[in-house]
Amino acid sequence: MEARSPSRWGAQEWAAVAMFLAVLAVPWATDDLLVQSIVNRVLIGAMAALSVFIMLRMDLLSFATPAFMALGGYAAVLLTMHGVTEVLLIVPASFLVPALVALPLGALVLRLRGVYFVLVTFVLTEILQLVLFMTPRLTGGADGLAGFPAPTLLGTELSDARSVLALAAAMALLAAVITAALTAHFRQHFAAIEENEVLAESLGLVVWRYKAMGFVVAAGIAGMAGFSLGNMLLTVHPTSFGAQQAVDTIVYAIIGGRGSILGPIAGASLLVTVSDFLGNQGQYAQGLFGLLLILVTLVARGGIAGAVAALARRLRAPRAAAGPAAAAPEAARGGA
């Protein structure tokens, strides 16, 4: 049987989880509405970007994140409207419903690569808009769903601004733990698929199994983000789950850096904050996103996280100047 090497978490995984743990304290640290609002939206954006990040680990650029967000969001909200308000039930439901839908969907779309995958996932998001529009009795159609009961935790209602934010932070923490666990456990597999899928397969890797696993988990995390968004807005609405959101989410992940779990988190933090300050000029935010995207593609392919890591290496370089001499005996031993 396959002996798995221990899937150890690196510093980045621990840092990501520690960050969200720290954010759990924010609802109690400040009453400032703006800070709470921005942190809440950063958390949602980061969750959605983590979903994109998982797919990018396998070199797949997914535009389907809003579709899965909608599935999770509507599923959770429909549950609350039918009397199930316990977060210990609806949060798992917001993960499982999109994950279960992703499973058969993956069988269809994961055969595709590159621009074809992009196009098909884009179409999925468009189809979902259509489905929402055509099912007004279930989903409220173009009006969306509003006025649903607040979620509860073991009987306590989570309706005030503080609990809404705390729930968002807890879900983001869960999403980060799941993402870190998945990408660390299958680091070598995902990297092999990203770098050379054909070779990996011909060496015996069951590529579709890992892709399906990634797709399903990415869908689940997007679903939790969808519920978190609905919980913040107190409404699930088709305009929250369109192609524009797909672009925004991808931009968070790529500008933040696709190579590290910290990338999507940094990207969402920066861009959500910046676009809020540019709130009065939405077009500038879009322009800035575009500009940053060009910059990242041309100059810093690793995004913010990659650039910071490179800078860190540069700063450490002088200290390591004596390195080669020290390393030489070791290399000699290795060669013996």
């Binding site: 092999a192 011909s202 060496l203 890797l205 590529v207």
Partner: protein, 254 residues
């Protein structure tokens, strides 16, 4: 270069029966049949576009055949997915350098071992002689796409061998190598045969083919034009006309 004992158990015969592949109306392979017994070494030559790489693609499940069967030890493996064929022991190498580019040499090998189900010390022990022979052992920490081209190519071959093959299909292993580096391919082939692998080599380098292969097949426009020992086959007028042409005639003279 002593092979690790018992590394490859139960080597089986690969049998290709009446294999055909058409892309739309285009006939790429037609009526291809041959057998590869344990320890056999078969050369496949032919002009560009003769269907050599397609033959490897079809056997390894990259593309399904339009007709015919592929049997491994009597078991029908036709149309199985690539990873399943690989796990059964039919592994290929690629014409272009094929490594996991951003990964180190060590990670490359460990991935090959892990993906084929052979992670652990025994796997490394099996691959170690090849790493030593190619001079890859001191460079385990280097990123694979920063290696010189010849070494990348050797790493690609090593990865295929690391996947614990019973049958190895090598797609132009010498292409792009310096003349001085080509003897490494000989070394590789000798090593894997000593372990009991059977090997199929698609190759353009006629010297290498003559040196290594007791038996060759000539493909032309998707059909087998000739089969037999190289000296005999390469002397045939139709083979020279179809494929070898002026170049090989020159080779012959030299």
């Amino acid at each position: 270069m002593e092979p690790a004992a018992g590394a490859v158990a139960g080597v089986e015969e690969l049998r290709v029966e009446n294999l055909a592949k058409r892309f739309g109306g285009l006939r790429v392979l037609e009526g291809i049949s041959f057998a590869l017994a344990p320890g056999d070494l078969l050369g496949v030559i032919g002009p560009n576009g003769a269907g050599k790489t397609t033959l490897i693609n079809v056997i390894t499940g990259r593309t399904p055949p339009s007709g015919g069967r592929i049997l491994l030890g009597g078991q029908d493996i036709t149309g199985r997915p690539t990873h399943a064929v690989s796990r059964l022991g039919v592994v290929r190498s690629f014409q272009q350098t094929n490594t996991f580019k951003a990964a180190s040499v060590r990670e490359n090998v460990s991935r090959a071992l892990r993906f084929s189900g052979g992670a652990g010390p025994q796997g490394w022990a099996r691959v170690a002689p090849l790493l030593d022979a190619f001079g890859l052992a001191p460079r385990l920490g280097e990123q694979s796409d920063k290696l010189p081209y010849g070494l990348q190519k050797m790493l690609g071959l090593t990865l295929a061998y690391a996947a614990n093959p019973k049958v190895l299909l090598l797609d132009e292993p010498a292409a792009g190598l310096e003349r001085s580096e080509r003897t490494r391919v000989d070394e590789f082939v000798r090593h894997v045969r000593a372990c009991g692998c059977s090997v199929l080599i698609v190759e353009h380098d006629m010297d290498l083919v003559r040196r290594l292969c007791p038996r060759i097949i000539v493909l032309d426009a998707g059909v087998v034009l000739a089969e037999g020992p190289p000296a005999e086959v390469l002397a045939r007028q139709d083979v020279i006309a179809a494929y070898v042409g002026a170049d090989a005639a020159g080779d012959e003279a030299a």
